[in-house]
């Protein structure tokens, strides 16, 4: 079964974060929500691995649901 690579792979994580935030700067909340959805779809298509995508969805859901409910 495919597994997420747990090693950090980004060379400049801070710069990537800034790029993502900047992409939203002039958008309405609705556009902003859709930008993220569009980005995920594009990246998923580039990934082109449905098992890896499943792992990523599970990891993201568990981070968001478990942590926010516990708090």
């Amino acid at each position: 079964m495919a597994e997420l690579d747990r090693n950090p792979r980004l060379r400049d994580p801070d710069a990537l974060f800034v790029r993502l935030v900047r992409a939203h700067l002039d958008l309405s909340p609705e556009q902003s929500r859709r930008l993220d959805a569009a980005l995920v779809l594009l990246l998923a298509d580039q990934l082109a691995d449905s098992e890896l995508l499943d792992r990523a969805i599970e990891a993201a859901r568990s981070a968001v649901i478990a942590r926010t409910e516990a708090a």
Partner: protein, 531 residues
Amino acid sequence: MPATYTNPRFGFRPPPELATGEGRTRVAIVGAGVVGLTAALDLARHGIRSILLDDDDTVSFGSRAICWSKRTLEIYDRLGLGQRLLDKGVTWKIGKVYFKDQLAYTFDLLPEPGHRMPAFVNLQQYYLEEWLVEACEASGLVELRWKNRVEDVGSRPDGVFLRVSTPAGDYRLEADWLLACDGARSTVRERLGLPFEGQVFRDRFLIADVVIDGFAMPAERRFWFDPPFHPGQSVLLHKQPDSMWRIDFQLGAEADPEAEKEPERVRSRIRAMLGADVPFALEWVSIYTFRCRRLERFRHDRVLFLGDSAHQVSPFGARGGNGGVQDADNLGWKLAAVLEGRAPEALLDSYDAERVPAADENILHSTRATDFITPRTEAARAYRDAVLLLARDHAFARAMVNAGRLSTPHTYRDSPLSTPDDADWGGGPGPGAPAVDAPLGEEGFLLDRLRNGPTLLVFGPTAPAVPGVRIVRLPADGLAAERWHARSGTTYLLRPDQHVAARFREPDPARIAAALTRLWGRDEPFARRAA
């Protein structure tokens, strides 16, 4: 009223110029803050006299800088204050980041042993300034003039004049060189009409210094995003000497600064954090907003800007004071060499060429950290919170958690004074990088061996004969050789500020001499570029 520290009051002594109305000096420094004092002391260590003017008669007040970085400590060691900082200060290297009530991320700023200086020492700015004043006085080369306020400045290509006011009258001072170290509200900058622009952050921060006796908290930097005791905002905690703790509370953009300063209100915030049973005494409370900006250039003819007068950053990352001290470290040897005729005036253009990119690096990191801590849009907050949620299980997200990227020295890679490598070295400090420390057994530490002049660091038995440079010989094996990626024959040329000017696998005297010429700004292409 503060209980742990009483500001000294330095006496006003009427300067001799009051009798005649005017005088002259080679070097005048405006502002006896941490940067002006460091610059004066560094110049004194190079044998250069200066007059240091300050409009006040004491050291800094209240909650200002506390975190001094490894590189800054190494600079103070060269200037003779390193041990004092270590003895009084609180040494730390671990940082912990919490999200809500959970630990999200831990970092270690100096995971390897074998360095004379630790990653960070926390010490109140006023102690450091007080010791700098003592060291300047003891040097016999710094004339400290308290209660001397610079009112006006005029700049010419070959000098500067100042109008100075004192309690006993005004005078005019001519100076060949002026170091503007007069802080974020610089009079010199304003009088010369130089724009100082950049980003303003809207969020207000409450900074409280609190004395807590016997508080069982380790000497670590702790940062909370959205903790239960201060929901929706961030909090930063640092340990200081004198059982003092620094707490920064983010208050948001809408907070009312007057109401937030009310001691009872501050106390209840602190009680919520520490628990109702921990007794504490409030020492200082202030409200700040932060900004990141810089002057376009730091050299204007005979005026050189250092510290907060040249650049300002938010405090996340402790890059303000440390950056300013590193300005002084960069300028001291250059100005001394120009004044003594060992280098052309154009060498001082390299101060600008090196410290502007250094300021940009500091501004970039502290802007990113402040944006992460105070997200300005819903999208930014969503990404921020997602990073924090992922951080516990995913290393990539931990690397994105930005609660401040702590001050590291700039590498002057593209400097006109650096000689580029002619081969791929695969490791060790490259051209423009600061020297890397290593233990030398009974001989102490590598950095102890470097003084205030250029040094040739030679690994192995032979040493090339090059005039005008001190030779320090090191074994071709062991930890120092490893950290410098050296084998027998490897030779590094270090600048007086301990940054690498050039390095060679085969120590050819002619190439070393050329690199030395370049280090002093005496080489042809540099002189032409600067013209």
